[in-house]
């Protein structure tokens, strides 16, 4: 890690460690911890998605479906069959991986962005199944009575415990993804991003890598879904529809898809916007999301994190000579 990144990561960890304590001090901010739990769950989804979008250069409109596979998988296995929640989480993740592989291999072998449409279609199919298989999923009226989780023999109860569990997952995934990006695989992905043909000519297995990243993003979404199921203990198909897939894409685009920090920032920002500040708009919400997505894609395609970073740097060093471009 660079010095800047180390400092950033250290600051983030400290911030997360004291957050429940600070939020608990004030009555009006007390529920922010709940918002941050959701933000953490969504971060797991968007960390995977940002690898897929920013580094493999592909877009998936099925992340809400994989999120749903994890959530309903865990909900059904623990609710109907009384499995251990961790076993259910693993089983759901393996299922999501298998499904992503089946969808991804043919779609990614094609040129260009067939994956976008294939995942869009797949996402809608999964949503229809959730609504129709009433015996298993409860259909439109939802699936309730999902038990909580316990870790090392202790039941996870209370917002603070959930907060630490979820964000521990996020930090672990962040570090792992970062590690992957700085490994041989990461360099290969960056080569694909710069020039697919050149990468292929150099012997990078382009479609294999893309499929692997897609499967990785699906597994993360599924794990996030499992945690979500146990945290809220009630699922309805509305949380896993196309609009949610678009929201995940939006989170990544707002933060910036070429940096893992972007995924974190965008997700936390949009979860707060969605859960807190947009409540006044109610039905207008969808317009605001569309507007933000359009403005970001047109005018700030690199995302907030990279944009602000460049802004700060240009302010700090107003005179730049061409010769220091490489440093």
């Amino acid at each position: 890690m660079t010095y800047r990144e180390k400092t950033g990561f250290f600051a983030l960890t400290i911030f997360l460690a004291v957050f429940p304590w600070i939020a608990g001090m004030s009555r009006s901010f007390g529920h922010y911890i709940d918002v941050m739990i959701f933000a953490g769950i969504f971060c797991l989804v968007t960390l995977g998605l940002s690898l897929l979008m920013g580094f493999a250069g592909q877009i998936s409109l099925a992340q809400a479906a994989f999120f749903g596979i994890g959530a309903y998988g865990s909900g059904i296995l623990t609710g109907h069959f009384h499995w251990n929640p961790w076993a259910a989480l693993l089983t759901s993740a393996v299922t999501a991986a298998a499904v992503a592989w089946i969808v991804g291999v043919p779609a990614l072998r094609l040129k260009g962005h067939y994956l976008a449409m294939a995942t869009l279609g797949f996402g809608v199919i999964v949503h229809i199944v959730m609504n129709e298989e009433v015996d298993w999923t409860g259909g439109p009226s939802g699936l309730g009575g999902i038990p909580g989780m316990s870790l090392a023999g202790r039941k996870i109860s209370g917002d603070a415990a959930w907060f630490y569990l979820i964000w521990a997952f996020v930090l672990a995934v962040f570090l792992f993804s970062r590690h992957v990006l700085h490994s041989r695989i990461g360099r290969a992905l960056r080569a694909i991003h710069d020039d697919e043909k050149a990468a292929e000519a150099m012997g990078v297995p382009v479609s294999t890598l893309k499929v692997q990243v897609f499967v990785y993003s699906a597994v993360l979404a599924s794990v996030a879904g499992s945690l979500y199921a146990h945290y809220v203990s009630f699922l309805s198909p509305g949380s896993f529809d196309l609009m949610w897939s678009v929201r995940f894409v939006l989170m990544v685009v707002v933060g910036g898809m070429q940096s893992l920090w972007g995924a974190l920032v965008g997700t936390v920002l949009l979860t707060f916007i969605g859960n807190e500040w947009l409540q006044v708009f109610a039905d207008f919400e969808i317009l605001v999301y569309g507007g933000i997505l359009l403005v970001m894609a047109l005018f700030v395609p690199q995302g907030l994190v990279v944009w602000l970073d460049a802004l700060v740097r240009s302010k700090a060093r107003p005179v730049s000579t061409p010769s220091d471009g490489g440093s």
Binding site: M53, G57, Q58, I59, L61, V103, P106, A107, L110, K111, G112, H113, Y114, A116, M117, A118, L120, G121, F122, V124, I125, I128, V129, N131, E132, L242, V246, V249, V253, D283, F284, I286, L287, Y289, G290, G291, L293, L294, A297, L298, P301
Partner: protein, 300 residues
Amino acid sequence: MADIFHGAAWLQYALGGLTIGAIYALVALGYNIIYNVTEIINFAQGEFVMLGGLFGVFYYQTCGLPLGAAVLCAVATVGLTGLLLERYVIRRARHATVLSMIIVTIAFSILLKGGAMLAWGKDPYRLPAFSRAGAFLWQGVAVQPQALWVLGISAVVVGVLTVFFRTSFYGKAMLACADNADAARLVGIPVRTMVLLSFGLSAAVGAVAGVAICPITLMEYDRGALLGLKGFGAAVLGGLGQFYGALVAGIVLGLAESLCAGYVSSGYKDAVALVLLMLALFFKPEGLFGSKEAAGLKRF
């Protein structure tokens, strides 16, 4: 032998499938027009269909225009929306990656959907059928005259577009832009104008589908995404860029969906077209009527 046909349930289902299939074909044409000129896949295509239906209702009920005029105004308004999309959104993102282009059209589709929800609310709306005649019996099957309108309109649109792109000056110029924009510019084709026209034309064709189906299935603000996706299924199945292919594939999808609703499960009818779309993407991405070589050259 005539008894097999007379009043059979399957004939009734097939008629419904044919009608909705013709609509999918029109949506597919919208994708094909833009694809033929720019090789962009416009994710907002379904929203044009939704807007067509709702603007038809607006001009007919709110403004009190006669039905024919309302239909024309609706098609013109949505066509204008398509022009605006190209002029103020797509053109700005011209040099962006395919990924950003997809994101931009998705964003625009959400804006259209949200705008429609604000303007019309969440209720479904109905237009009256284009002709006053009531449903009649044919071979013991109830036929709505509006279904015949839908089929006729689709056939006419496919025919006109094919002639337009194959023989007319403007049509050929538009195709040249997709082949090689730089070469087209060199021989004096105003590429930007052609791209602008393609978006307007595509949106107008989508709107035609929307107003034509509105008397049968009604229209509401959130129908766009699914209609667009099924239409894309028809476009891929027929071979991206192929007009007759889109017509045949649209009708195949419509029939499959309608027969599934009748004999298997009505809840899963929406999944049928999507499963076929995915099978087509996976096993025959060049479509039923496209050639493999041509598909290899496409830059989508």
